[in-house]
C-alpha cells in the first residue's frame, strides 16, 4: 500500500516535470536571431531587445556564436535573422540565396590589446598592419580566435596585408584558441599575449588583468555589422514577417537610437550607421 503510494508520488512528480510547460515558453510570438558573441557579451542585445519586444510583442531569442557558425546555422534554417560582422561572408550568404538582403546596421572598431610592458613596442600606434609586423618580428605571443568568426576573419586580412605567414608560427608565438572572444581574452591575458578584439567586448570585459588598448584608430580596424533576413524561399519555417519587423525596427530611428544610447562605463560601444 505504502509502496504504491511512493510509486504514485514518483509518477506525479515525473508527470509534472515533463508535462507542465516551461514558464518562459509561454510567449508564442518569437524569432530566433543568429548573432555573434560580441553583441551579446557586450550587453548590447540585452539592452535594446526589450524595447523592441515591448513595442512589437515579438520575443527575440538570441543564439550567440561565432560569425562562421552563425552563418552555417542560418543556412540550415535554424534562425530567422542573421546579425553578424563579416561583410564578405555576409554578401556571399545573400548571393548564394540563403539571405534576402544585407543591410548595414552599426559599426564599432577592433583594437589590439596587449600587456602593459608591451614587448613588441606597439603602444600608441594607429597603424594596425605595422603593429602586427612588429609583433611578428619580436615573436611576441599573440592569441588569435582561430574560430572562423568575423573578428578572426578581420585579423587574418590584416596579417595577410602585413605579409606574415601565421600558419608557420602557429603553436609557437601565434596561438589559436579556437574559442569565442571572451575565452580568447581570458587565455590571452593569462599568457601575456597580444589580442585583437572588438572594442565593445573589450570595454565590457571583466578580466582585463594588466592588459590595455595599445593600437586603435586605424580605419582598417573598422568593424561593420550587418543584418540579413534568412530567405523564406529556402526555409519555409522562417518567420519572414516578424523577422522583417525586427530588421525594420533595428534600421529605423528607434533602433538606431537605442544602439547609440547603449553605453558601458559612459562609453558608447556601437555606432549606428544604417542607410
Amino acid at each position: 500500500m505504502n509502496r504504491r503510494l511512493l510509486v504514485n508520488l514518483a509518477a506525479v512528480i515525473a508527470a509534472v516535470t515533463v508535462l507542465v510547460p516551461f514558464g518562459s515558453m509561454a510567449q508564442d510570438k518569437f524569432i530566433v536571431v543568429q548573432s555573434t558573441t560580441s553583441t551579446q557579451n557586450s550587453g548590447l542585445l540585452d539592452a535594446i531587445l526589450p524595447q523592441f519586444t515591448e513595442k512589437s510583442g515579438i520575443d527575440v531569442r538570441v543564439v550567440a556564436v561565432g560569425t562562421g557558425q552563425a552563418i552555417k546555422n542560418a543556412e540550415n534554417g535554424d534562425g530567422d535573422v542573421l546579425l553578424v560582422h563579416a561583410k564578405p561572408a555576409e554578401e556571399k550568404f545573400v548571393a548564394d540565396g540563403w539571405g534576402v538582403k544585407r543591410h548595414d546596421v552599426m559599426y564599432n572598431d577592433f583594437v589590439i590589446v596587449g600587456p602593459a610592458d608591451d614587448p613588441a613596442g606597439v603602444a600608441g600606434s594607429s597603424d594596425a598592419v605595422a603593429a602586427l609586423e612588429k609583433i611578428a618580428e619580436s615573436q611576441s605571443a599573440f592569441a588569435s580566435r582561430g574560430d572562423d568568426s568575423g573578428t578572426h576573419k578581420a585579423e587574418l586580412r590584416l596579417w595577410r596585408e602585413a605579409g606574415v605567414d601565421t600558419a608557420s608560427a602557429s603553436g609557437d608565438w601565434y596561438r589559436e584558441t579556437g574559442s569565442g572572444m571572451g575565452a580568447t581574452l581570458n587565455t590571452g591575458v593569462g599568457m601575456g599575449a597580444y589580442i585583437m578584439a572588438d572594442r565593445a567586448t573589450w570595454i565590457s570585459f571583466g578580466n582585463k588583468g594588466d592588459h590595455e588598448v595599445l593600437v586603435e584608430g586605424d580605419p582598417k580596424l573598422f568593424n561593420q555589422y550587418g543584418v540579413i533576413l534568412v530567405n523564406p524561399d529556402k526555409h519555409p519555417v522562417v518567420k519572414a514577417e516578424e523577422g522583417q519587423a525586427f530588421i525594420d525596427w533595428l534600421l529605423g530611428a528607434e533602433g538606431q537610437a537605442a544602439i547609440a544610447d547603449f553605453k558601458v562605463d559612459g562609453q558608447q560601444l556601437f555606432f549606428p550607421n544604417a542607410d
Partner: protein, 235 residues
Amino acid sequence: MQDFADSLLLSLNLIVSGNPELWSIVLLSLRVSLTAVALAAVIGMPLGAALAVGRFPGRPAAIVLVNALMGLPPVVVGLVVYLFLSNSGPLGVLQLLYTPTAMIIAQVVLVTPIIAALTRQVVEDLDAEYAEQLRSIGVSRLASVPTLLWDGRISLLTALLAGFGRAIAEVGAVIIVGGNINHVTRVMTTTIALETSKGNLALALALGTILVVIAIAVNAAVGLIGPASQRIAHA
C-alpha cells in the same frame, strides 16, 4: 585568490537576495536535468536489465558498447542532436531546436548509457545471487526483471545520481542545442560559460558554487529518501 573570496561573497549574496533571474535559471536547470534523468531511467533501466539477464548473440559486444558510451563527449552529442533537430535535419519539422525539450533530448542521450551500464552491473550481480531461487519459485527470466530492479533499488539510486550529476554538470551539449537563449534555454552551466567568456570570473565562480550546492542538496535529498523508501517498502 581574490576571485575566490569575491565569488564566495557574491554567491552568498545571490542566494540570500533571492535574485529571481538566478532562480529561474536554477529551476530550468533542475527541470531539464531531472526530466532527462527520469526519461533516461525509463529507457536505461530496462535496457540494462535486459543486458544483464538476456542471453542473445552479440550480448558481450552490446555490453562493451554501452559501457563505452558512458564516455560520450557532450559536444559530440550536442552536434548530433543539433543535426537531427535543425531545420535542415530529419526532425526539423518538430521545431524543437533551441527549446528546453532539445536540451532534454541531448541529456537523455548522454545519461541513458550511464544508467543502462550501471543497471546492468547491479542487476547482473543480484541475478547471480537470485537466479536459482527465483527459478525454483517458478519465476521466468523475464518476470524476474522487476524483482531484480526493485531489490537493487538502493544501488540503482546511485546510478540515477551518477546520471543526474552528468546531466546537471554538462555544458557542451545543451549550449549547442539550446543556444543559451536568455529566459528560454539558459541554464546554470551555460550561464557560467557565458559569464566566463565575459571575463566575469567571480560571478561565474559564484554560479559554480551554487551549482555545487544544488548538486549536494539533490544528493542529500536522495540520501534521505533512500532509507525512508526502504523503511516504507518493509512496512
